[in-house]
Symmetry: C2
Subunit: 337 residues, 2 copies
């Protein structure tokens, strides 16, 4: 699907532009990659769209987050009323924002603008049993897949998945450790602001999860069922769905990367169809990028989630694509045109 | 001038926002720095403005560039007609663009939109004598200073200096080597695409310049007079003039950084009033940032100049400042507001 000929066509087009060879550096490769995924170098502009998937996590009861889980539902209001960081960035950059409640442990029907996609009210604490039933995982994957379709219908050609879910760096760390074969210490971070004691507890929780839960690391549904996270499952379905529609995705921080690792079990050639938007502060973010030898577009020590790092990276792709489309050729300039 | 209280006020404001502490990472420090230079946290929005200073270089006759010097004048047409990369980025980001002929070795009067600020038609080859007279340097500094005033009048509150001048990475390398006490090999790069032979020649030219010219490294006019570059002098005056008006600057690649090193001889507290926009591919860019322990906002292997790296970095500051101004507080969110 990834079109190698168009990738090289795009690089060749850059060669002819009014600038020294390769002078735009990585922006030339990144835009060539857009063309290769789209299957076209004639796309007029980059039109980014963001979906924030929100869900709660039973494992939050283990005290692995600096915030109580009630914050998840409260933040949904901030997303839709425009006061959350991703909302401001979407306004500033000109991206449409969707907000999906795929598993918040509270009633969000009263919040205008929140799509009611709830599979269940939060996942089970994976120290006590599988986080989700396999059927629930399937449905969450379908929610994500459905948003890929909605974005395509809306004319979006660059997809960004964000997430909100108190506690969700813990299942993300467990998924990353499992799928990359890394020790919990290498992937657990301080999340939204754990103290050293909380951090130790979080490492212990991830270690126990990996010992007690036994997912098949080759089976995306098994991984998500055992280690869960409804927003992580929805994101995985979203990334897979975008690829099917030739819409490149810009990945965000550690939760997004965990979802991506699952999504590439569903869509094996996914790696070339995504952009690694930024390297976050969370250890798992660095670990995934290093293991995949992926160089992020941005490195700003962010650790917010919501898709905030990804949308900033996407904004650079927008400008770079405009340069690709609108720059004069060296030939034009040399003949004084 | 740099207001430490406002820097901390801004960080404190970030602490209250609807996000985990420090979750926006470097963007929090960068916006706090905007406030500290402006002397206010109540600025409504970041309004970037770009000036591209263009000039030719006598040393180009030594064959240290992949392009003939005629390209400088031709590119001015591309800047003003909208086909140059910086022109596209300015359109895409919403920044006003000024184009100043401060020393092009051709008549540019016929190019609409080019400001006629010419001091002389290119500098002297500094292997044959001082590149510029001291009086010429003074006048070029004043040109830059004048643009700082023009931008302020136009309501710009974030200044970006770009440049165009075939051969200008060579005087820039010489200035950087002199002012940082580095060997030519550490600061000379391949410019707009030199082959290995051309690169050796360029190292030789810089080495000879440093041996044969004897500028006083503490005297900005002496440095610019001996090693020259009219656009480098104008940029230095521009950066100094922006600081006087409390307008932060975003620095670009190696030529911009050479000008900055001179400007801080004029305005000693300049370092805190600028942003290091990106690390370019040219060796001198990395050398300056390392020596100053400055972490660039972007690292995209760009090597174009024109202010292109700086404007992309500026676009991120625009979004970050909007988040600073428009994000809800955690308090608001917790009371369901």
């Amino acid at each position: 699907m990834w079109n190698e000929r168009l990738y090289h066509d795009a690089l060749l087009t850059w060669e002819g532009k009014a600038k020294p060879k390769r002078a735009l550096g990585r922006l030339e490769e990144l835009t060539a990659n857009l063309a290769a995924v789209w299957g076209s170098i004639d796309v007029q502009e980059v039109r980014p769209g963001v979906v924030v998937f929100a869900a709660d996590h039973g494992v939050a009861e283990e005290g692995i987050s600096a915030y109580p889980k009630e914050v998840t539902a409260l933040m949904l209001k901030a997303f839709t009323s425009g006061g959350a960081c991703i909302s401001v960035f979407c306004r500033s950059i000109g991206a449409k924002l969707w907000v999906s409640d795929v598993g918040v442990d509270a009633d969000t029907v009263g919040i205008p603008g929140v799509s009611q996609d709830k599979i269940r009210k939060g996942s089970v604490n994976f120290l006590k049993g599988p986080a989700l039933g396999e059927n629930e995982v399937q449905r969450a994957l379908e929610v994500g897949e459905r948003y890929a379709g909605l974005l395509a219908q809306a004319g979006v050609n660059l997809g960004i998945g964000g997430e909100m879910g108190i506690g969700n760096t813990t299942p993300s760390a467990a998924i990353i450790a499992l799928l990359l074969g890394l020790a919990p210490e290498c992937v657990v971070g301080r999340g939204s602001g754990l103290d050293p004691e909380g951090y130790e507890k979080k490492v212990g929780v991830v270690t126990r999860a990996l010992n007690e839960r036994g997912p098949d690391p080759k089976d995306p549904v098994s991984v998500l069922s055992e280690l869960g996270g409804l927003e992580i499952a929805a994101l995985a379905g979203f990334y897979a769905g975008l690829k099917k529609r030739r819409i490149p995705a810009v990945l965000d921080g550690v939760i997004s990367l965990a979802a991506f690792l699952v999504a590439r079990l569903i869509e094996p050639e996914l790696d070339k169809c995504v952009f690694f938007g930024h390297v976050g502060r969370e250890a798992g973010s660095k670990a995934v990028l290093e293991r995949l030898c992926a160089r992020p577009i941005l490195s700003l020590d962010m650790a917010l989630g919501e898709g905030t790092g990804a949308i900033l990276a996407a904004s650079l792709l927008m400008h770079a694509w405009r340069a690709f489309r609108e720059m004069a050729t060296l030939k034009d300039v040399l003949r004084g045109g």
